[in-house]
Amino acid sequence: MGRHVVGRVSEVPPGGRRIVDAAGRSIGVFNVKGTFYALRNSCPHQAAPLCLGAIKGMTLPSRPGEYHWGREGEILRCPWHGWEFDITTGRSIFNPHKTRVKAYEVTVESDQAQDEEPDESVETFDVTVEDGFIILHT
């Protein structure tokens, strides 16, 4: 179980993402409406860099001839073949049970990684959770 500091919350605003190398893998960390999610940056189809894809909504299931757009900001489209994935779960839209990308836990914490020594030479301030650290758990 690895613990990786991704950055400050303010550095990855809602709708944003940051791609990091952690535990020997490339992982995309996404801020979806204030909640952070992380997905492996490799599409299960042909290993494209999935997390570079467009962050979109999706056409929801509908009757023929009707269009209902929804889930804006929650859907990641692979940059190669356009397969849609639910950022909040890593599951694909077309086959959520079988086609999925590995998702990781992300937390927001006021302190940086506990095993890091604080730098005494730097004047420090208390941080609120609003600008805490994004921690990726692998």
Partner: protein
Amino acid sequence: MAVATQEVREKTSGHTGIVDCDVHPYPAHADEIRQYLPMPWRDRFGSVGRGFYGNPVHGSRLDSTPPSGGPAGSDPAFMRQQLIDEFGVAYAILLPRTFCNLQPDPDFGTAVAAAFNDWLADTWLSRFNPDGVFKGSITVNIQDPPAAAKEIERWAGHPHFVQVMTDSGARVPLGQRQYYPIYEACARHGFRFAVHPGTDGMGINHQATPGYPTHYIEWHTCLSLAFQAHLVSLLTEGVFERFPELGVTLTEGGVAWLAPLMWRLDTEWKALRSEVPWVTKLPSAYLRDHVRLSSQPLESPDNTRDLLQVLEMMDAKHILMFASDYPHWDFDSPTHAFPKLPADLHERIFAINARQWYGLPAPGTDGASMPETLDPDRR
């Protein structure tokens, strides 16, 4: 054993020697093409594109946009990094996207084809090509076959053009006689003739479905229908009897349909041979000598054994050639598009079939004993 030894050596050197049979270079700007167009065509040439049935998601891999700017496929250094070096591609067969054969004015279409050929020859096939990794396709405007034949003549003997190409969009099937000046020129100068999707149902061309489909997904899925019709036409019109040196490359037209279509055509021929007496053997028996298919977009059934059986049925060992379609959205990765194949089949599909088809020396050899673009017995 010899194949296995070669595999080990290629893996050790990190060079797989892939021949990628469908790669798309783009000009960074329409002016790059415009500069080759004489007036009055220079002012008539608009943008580079077809403007119809666009992919509603994205048309090219999003990560293929060069960091230097410009459209996907326009930066040779970035293409080398992302395709040639990444996958160990020994040769990339370049097919520019001119869409010239949708034009109602045949002279304009011919001028656009010539301008793209000049551009390709001056850039990707020379300045960007010190190692000869890029091999080109001569675009012709098939709505004016005599003019197309002249354009082919213009490039005869060029060291890096290996084939002539057209989009599959057409007004009549490709086996019909008005096209023969093109095939005669291809056969005379040792160029393969490639068909690539792109202008079906656009401009003056027919759509190979009953009318226009509504959605891109329909149009794109049904692109293979035109290829099936063109192939049946080429075989039944006796084109390969008339031009024994002619070879047709069916690029990006689908793969899995071939075997059942040939079963059907062979069965029809047994009863109807008398209608086409110049077809002197089973239509499918012409394929090995005259037809190759490129693999992308490879059909991918859930059960990969189904695909392996299809490959066996269609004689993939002899007539299938790998293609990635870089940088387009439906790119097939050389390492992920195919299921695990037997080593000899893999080697044939990814390298040998295309090297033989285009007369390309094996990587690492100097090719001195072999003409650059031609198999000696095709001269």
